[in-house]
């Protein structure tokens, strides 16, 4: 078997798609998350339904015309249903959304995400655009997937601001705060798949992607990552996965790694 060539963004897109089961419902964001959702549909999940927070249920996205936002008519093309923003977000509260797909400027050891402020929120270095529906999705969807490039400045011990709740301060603190459903399911980076320890809710390595090392993970993580005694490896992207992914994004508009 020849070794396949792929970049880190493609790797994350493929790894994310693998977690999306058939017959389920996923909140797809714009960009890479959407590519992952469509990839899953083409691979193993033909009846997976994509939602957009702009109010779209089950659209039929045209390849080459991927919507740059989730709130516009390109995202609504040939949908099964259009709903108000409030109502589509409420579907999660009722329990109808299986997966949320999130990113953020920062993530911490308990999976909390920040997309509001870099630095002191009262005197921020950078005011970011804000939560959008991320706070709602992370509070209410059954399983949250976080897809991020693994960088030390992004994987921090404590986020500057919890825009989007993960396991808060760990342990039972998420449920204690009133967030009875959902939680962060997996963090998918270009180095590996990460989960959360059952009791402490601290982030832990689950599988390392082929070629990645523990050292690299530790080097690129700003907190103490829990590493299992026995390291398991992720199954490398297959030719089929890569072929379909590249059909979806022929110009690599959404699957080119950003400069660090």
């Amino acid at each position: 078997m020849t070794k396949l060539d792929y970049n880190t963004a493609e790797l994350v897109a493929i790894m994310s798609a693998r977690f999306l089961e058939d017959g389920k419902i996923v909140f797809g964001g714009a960009g890479m998350p959407l590519i992952s959702c469509i990839l899953a549909q083409k691979l193993h999940a033909p009846t997976l339904t994509i939602l957009f927070e702009g109010g779209v249920i089950g659209p039929d996205i045209q390849i080459g015309k991927l919507p740059p936002s989730t709130n516009e008519q390109r995202a609504a093309r040939r949908a099964n249903m259009l709903l108000s923003i409030t109502d589509i977000l409420l579907l999660q509260q009722r329990g109808y959304v299986d997966y949320g797909f999130l990113g953020g400027a920062q993530i911490d050891q308990y999976g909390n995400l920040n997309s509001s402020f870099i630095g002191d929120p009262d005197n921020p270095k950078v005011r970011l655009p804000g939560t959008g529906g991320a706070n709602d999705i992370a509070s209410l969807a059954s399983k949250i997937l976080v897809a991020m490039h693994h960088e030390k400045k992004r994987f921090v011990e404590k986020v500057d601001f919890i825009t989007t709740p993960g396991y808060l301060q760990g342990g039972t603190s998420r449920k204690d705060a009133g967030l009875l459903a959902g939680g962060i399911y997996k963090v998918i980076t270009h180095l590996g798949i990460f989960g959360f320890e059952k009791e402490s809710k601290r982030m832990c390595l689950e599988t390392l992607h082929p070629g990645a090392t523990i050292e690299e993970v530790e080097e690129r993580t700003g907190f103490e990552m829990i590493i299992p005694d026995k390291i398991e490896y992720t199954k490398a992207p297959t030719e089929k996965e890569l072929t379909i992914l590249r059909e979806l994004d022929p110009d690599k508009r959404y699957t080119t790694p950003k400069a660090e």
Partner: protein
């Protein structure tokens, strides 16, 4: 901070809600907005933005406006730089994912010239909905545990008397004025919307005054032939203004997509030169044109035709 129910009722009680002609000029309609008002805007992001209303607010030099919207895009920049808006209430504020973080939003908030009050998308929606329903709050299961919650003065938590569960109480929002753009509307203010409904219905019912800009004014007969399509009833509408292409350079579902080239031009100016770039844009595109049609003309025929072909193309399938 929240008005009492009796005060809220008093405002609505004074409205003339007869089935009467409310068609007026853009100038007169925006004249209904007063300095200091809370203005809520329909649509979301760069979709179905009541851009003509925003444009005229700037020309009329409104001041001390609080502007709320599910997601604010380039119109938020314009309102800040023009000095119209002091506070933006939203869940997200920037031109669009692919265009990066608004330099104007950063400049105004980081330097504390204006405020950006951040709510989650759903909780802002529930604020309008509670306002529309005439209740002071709706309980929800989001926002709790986050750092958004303690920064907001009006949100509360309670233990559910039925289940003992913790709930966030999302407070009602009753804007002074709603500005909403529609695909069609009759002279009385019966609004029919196509495609993505965003939060428009709730905003209209929550607001004390409603200004509707519309691609076209249709007969009341046409509305009555499909009353199940009416999204906003005449009774809450105070002004109806016919403004073709009233969202440009943003999109209007089924009518036109964004004028992307114009958006790119604007974003380059804004990201490159910040508020100064936007001032230049305001001079050329908001203050200089004699009227809305002249503004549209400046966006360019080819841009508009391309946007129109794409926009109505959603009905080609």
């Amino acid at each position: 901070m929240m008005k009492s129910y009796e005060e809220l009722r008093e405002v609505i009680d004074k409205k003339n809600r007869g089935l009467r002609d409310k068609v007026m000029s853009l100038e007169d309609a925006i004249g209904l907005i007063q300095d200091g008002d809370h203005v809520a805007s329909g649509g979301c992001h760069y979709s179905k933005t009541a851009m003509a209303a925003v444009w005229e607010m700037i020309r009329q030099k409104k001041r001390d406006i609080t502007y709320s919207r599910s997601i604010a895009s380039t119109e938020g920049d314009l309102l800040l730089v023009a000095g119209v808006v002091k506070r933006v209430v939203s869940s997200w504020f920037s031109p669009g994912v692919t265009w990066g973080v608004s330099r104007v939003m950063r400049h105004y908030t980081q330097n504390k010239i204006a405020e950006f009050e951040e709510w989650s998308h759903m909780s802002l929606g529930l604020r309008y909905r509670a306002g529309a329903m005439g209740i002071p709050f709706i309980p929800a299961r989001a926002m709790m545990g986050s750092d958004l919650f303690p920064r907001l003065s009006d949100i509360k938590e309670m233990e559910c008397p039925f289940t003992g569960e913790k709930l966030a109480l999302i407070p009602a929002l009753n804007p002074d004025v709603a500005i909403i753009h529609a695909q069609r509307c009759d002279a009385y203010g019966n609004v029919q919307l196509d495609g993505l409904p965003f939060m428009d219905k709730d905003i209209a019912l929550a607001a004390n005054k409603v200004i509707v800009t519309t691609e076209r004014i249709v007969s009341n007969d046409q509305i009555r032939r499909a009353p199940d399509r009416t999204a906003i009833g005449f009774f809450c509408v105070d002004a109806v203004v016919e403004v073709p292409y009233g969202c440009l350079p943003h999109e209007c579902y089924g009518q036109y997509e964004p004028a992307f080239k114009h958006m790119d031009y604007y974003v380059k100016l804004m990201m490159g030169r910040g508020p100064d770039g936007v001032k230049e844009y305001l001079d050329e595109y908001v203050y200089a044109p004699a009227n809305w049609n002249e503004y549209i003309e400046k966006i360019g025929f080819k841009n508009i035709l391309d946007a129109t072909i794409e926009g109505r193309g959603i009905y080609n399938d």
